[in-house]
Amino acid sequence: MNADLKYVAVDDDSFNNILCRIIIEDTLGEVDITTFTKPEEGLTFIENVKSPTILFLDINMPTLTGWDFLEQYEKFGEEVKSSVSIYILSSSLDQRDKDRANRNKYVKGFISKPLEPEIVTLIANGEFQT
């Protein structure tokens, strides 16, 4: 487990962000977690990431969807992209959403809400597979 890993959650549902924080902290202990309910702010934050970061990204957001987010992300520099691992965290059960997520080369995996401690452990160990 990489102790220097940072965690970011982008979701307009603030309770989801709280829940994420509680589950990650409870599973991994004291880690660096940043959450955003406004995806635009999350995007700005990610653009400036310089160290290894796990991003939990929601899809259904009013002003900027997860897909829009990914489009913007594509324009970021290689330094950012090599540091960030993106996981879609969505309440969607729709297979089309899962397929679309898996087709995107920046998406490491699709996680159906709620986020569970086992998943967090696997991701932290780099062992998660969709």
Partner: protein, 765 residues
């Protein structure tokens, strides 16, 4: 002498004349004497007196004896001329004799005169007789030769004992020689005979000679110029004193003319015979029954077809009816009705009388229970010698049957043509209308307001705007392509008629284009239902899409709080959490449960709208709606200084489900208020317009606006939100659209960020 001698005396001396007269009287010669002393008298006397003898003194005052003699000779008379002179030299006398005088007598020896006269007359008489005899001989010989040449015959005589051969002039000519050109001989006789005939001629001659019997033979001769002549020779035999044949006497005649004429005639006869045989053959080969009748209507000749016809009809008339009345036989043969028979009789009579050139009629009768048709043609017989007519009976049953079938099939076609629901117009290759059915007449009248007529150009009926298209269609069908399309026309009452139009080329058996058929089939009913179906399908597809989206959104919006609840309750159960976290989680659970409830409520609301139009429509006044809404959101308006204006002057009411229209107005107005721009005096305007059969409502504001390039397709989506800083569920516009569509209307939006938004709603009335 029984007759008195006529003596003409030329003398100018009267005494001399009297002296001579006395001398003659004394001698006892009976005479009458005329004395002349001038030349004119002399000439006149020669003619009028016609003397038997002329006595002439030698010298006269006017002329002399030599002159008188000359005049005599010139007159061509053979009258003795005796010179009486007083003195004359011997030499002169001889000269006068040489000139033709019969004698001369000296005046002093007049006693010799009577004898001299008698001698001269005697001599001249015998001379004359001999001459006449000779003349006769010569004349007869010339005549004979001439006769030979004219009659083209010749004779010959062959001595059987002495081998002498004589040919007449004609024989030379006949045998192809000049007279005397060759020796008359058997060889020369045979020489020019046609080689094919020589043998026969020799045989006949030999046989004839050996048995002494007369014979005749015809043979050909080749002329000097190579042309062939036909000769006929006859021989007989002349016996000697002992009765045995001594001479063969032959008679040859040129019979070329008659022979050639005969050959010619034979040729003509053969030609005529051949022609006649050919004609008979032609007549017999002709399928029509041919009968020749004479001027009394009796049959004089028939052809093979007629013979078969009479046999087939079992007429029982001998010789196929030849010699019988044609009409009687026809009646018996065919049982043609009396009226037709009468007509035929009249026709034949008129042709025979030459009052009409030809008579023709068609008639029918039943033969073996089958109706048969014949065409009867009566034509005069072109014969100068007798009157008559030729009657032809042509079997036209096949043609008639075909005609009847055609009429029947034409009638059938016409029936189909008239009873179809399609309008048909048939045009020829020049695009002229040839035929059409009553559907086409009606259609043309209703559509183009024109009466469809035969003969006019098809282009005439189409409106100008359609002509390029029509012209293209005609070009295509002329290449025998089919042109088919559907078209619609608006009728005067505003209703739309749909037609299935087909242009089909009409092709002859020779694959030539003869025109085209234009068919209009009214497919309005089908088309309308098709369009309705298309509309319904599109609507269904839309609804299905909406439903899918709806299902997705609902699932997401239901799932999100559920996931939160699951996550939070798991954490609460399984994790060792701080009290603070526990509070957060249990708070979160109750928020999520509230959300869940909210979604279920929304769902209920949406499904109610989508559920249908069970509620009752009523007249709703727009101004009333707006005023009510203004009151219900009064606190918002007052607080933010928002101006709501409306103009419903054009139309202020709609027969509609009031709650829906209220919801639409409420959502659009409250959105205008909610998404106004800060620091800008907000104006919301509502305007109604009446467009033909539609009511248009425009809601415009000067608010924040939406980037439609980015969000255009989602603006009416459920739970779609575009402004995160303003509270909202993303339900309003979704509900507006759903309700507008449920009321049968349409909604469109135009918007620009930081400028404003305009919604345009149309309801059909």
């Amino acid at each position: 002498m029984t007759q008195s001698l006529k003596i003409l005396h030329i003398e100018d001396v009267k005494s001399d004349a009297e002296l001579i007269e006395r001398t003659l009287k004394r001698s006892g010669v009976a005479f009458e004497k005329l004395v002349v002393d001038t030349r004119d008298e002399y000439i006149k006397a020669l003619d009028e007196f016609n003397p038997d003898i002329i006595l002439s003194d030698h010298s006269l005052p006017a002329f002399n004896s030599l002159e008188a003699l000359k005049i005599l000779k010139e007159s061509g008379r053979n009258t003795p001329f005796i010179l009486i002179t007083a003195t004359v030299s011997e030499e002169f006398a001889v000269n006068v004799m040489k000139e033709g005088a019969a004698d001369y007598v000296l005046k002093d020896r007049l006693q010799r005169l009577p004898n001299a006269i008698l001698n001269a007359i005697g001599k001249y008489q015998s001379d004359n007789e001999r001459q006449i005899y000779l003349d006769k001989i010569f004349a007869s010989e010339a005549l004979f030769t001439k006769a030979e040449s004219i009659a083209e015959f010749g004779t010959f005589r062959v001595g059987l004992i002495d081998d002498s051969v004589d040919w007449s002039a004609g024989t030379y000519v006949l045998l192809g020689y000049e007279h005397g050109e060759v020796e008359p001989s058997y060889e020369n006789f045979l020489k020019n005979i046609h080689p094919d005939d020589v043998g026969d001629v020799q045989n006949i001659i030999n046989t004839s000679i050996s048995n002494g019997q007369p014979a005749e033979i015809d043979y050909r001769l080749i002329d000097k110029n190579g042309s062939i002549r036909y000769l006929h020779s006859q021989f007989e035999f002349e016996p000697d004193e002992k009765g045995s044949p001594a001479y063969m006497i032959g008679f040859n005649q040129d019979v070329s003319r008659s022979k050639l004429a005969q050959i010619e005639i034979q040729k003509h006869i053969e030609e005529l015979k051949a022609a006649s045989e050919r004609q008979t053959a032609i007549l017999n080969a002709m399928p029509p029954n041919v009968v020749l009748i004479n001027e009394w209507g009796k049959i004089v000749a028939v052809n093979e077809s007629w013979r078969k016809f009479t046999l087939a009809n079992n007429l029982g008339v001998p010789r196929y009816g030849i010699g019988y009345s044609y009409l009687a036989i026809s009646e018996k043969a065919t049982g043609v009705d009396a009226a037709a028979l009468k007509k035929i009789e009249k026709g034949i009579k008129e042709v025979l009388d030459e009052t009409r050139k030809e008579f023709s009629m068609e008639y029918s009768y039943y033969f073996l229970e089958q109706k048969v048709w014949f065409q009867l043609i009566v034509a005069p017989l072109a014969d100068k010698s007798q009157k008559g007519a030729v009657i032809l009976h042509i079997d036209i049953t096949d043609r008639k049957q075909a005609e009847e079938l055609m009429l029947q099939s034409k009638a059938n076609l016409q029936t189909i043509f008239e009873n179809t629901d399609t309008a048909y117009v048939l045009c020829d290759a020049e695009h002229k209308v040839v035929s059409f059915n009553s559907n086409a007449t009606d259609l043309c009248m209703h559509r183009f307001g024109k009466k469809l007529k035969i003969g006019g150009s098809a282009f005439h009926y189409f409106p100008k705007s359609k002509l390029p298209h029509v012209s293209e269609a005609v070009d295509s069908v002329m290449y025998n392509e089919t042109v088919a399309y559907e078209t619609s026309y608006e009728l005067k009452d505003g209703s739309i008629k749909w037609y299935d139009v087909r242009w089909e080329g009409v092709v002859s058996e020779q694959k030539e284009n003869m025109g085209f058929v234009l068919a209009f089939k009214d497919i309005t009913e089908r088309k309308v239902s098709e369009l309705e179906r298309d509309l319904m399908t599109a609507d269904l597809v839309q609804r299905n899409n909406d439903l899918e989206k709806f299902a997705y959104i609902i699932s997401h919006n239901l799932r999100a709080p559920v996931a939160n609840i699951i996550g939070a309750s798991n954490a609460l159960n399984d994790m060792d959490l701080s009290a603070e976290d526990k509070v957060k989680l249990s708070k979160g659970i109750s928020v999520s449960v509230m959300k869940l409830d909210e979604v279920v409520n929304d769902l209920n609301q949406i499904l109610q709208v989508k559920g249908g139009l069970d509620e009752i429509k009523e007249i709703v006044h727009f101004s009333e709606l707006v005023e009510n809404i203004k009151i219900s959101i009064e606190n918002l308006i007052d607080k933010d200084n928002v101006e709501i204006k409306y103009d419903f002057s054009e139309i202020n009411e709609l027969y509609v489900l009031k709650p829906y229209l209220y919801s639409i107005f409420y959502n659009l107005i409250s959105n205008g208020v909610k998404y106004r721009r800060q620091h800008v005096h907000s104006i919301i305007e509502i305007k109604s317009s009446l467009l033909e059969n539609k009511v248009e409502l425009i809601f415009s504001d000067n608010g924040m606006g939406i980037d439609l390039n980015k969000n255009g397709d989602q603006i009416f989506g459920l739970y779609k939100r575009f402004h995160s800083n303003i509270e909202g569920k993303g339900m309003g516009l979704f509900m507006v659209k759903t309700q507008v569509e449920t009321l049968g209307g349409k909604i469109k939006v135009t918007s620009e960020e930081n400028k404003g938004t305009e919604f345009k709603i149309e309801f059909e009335i």
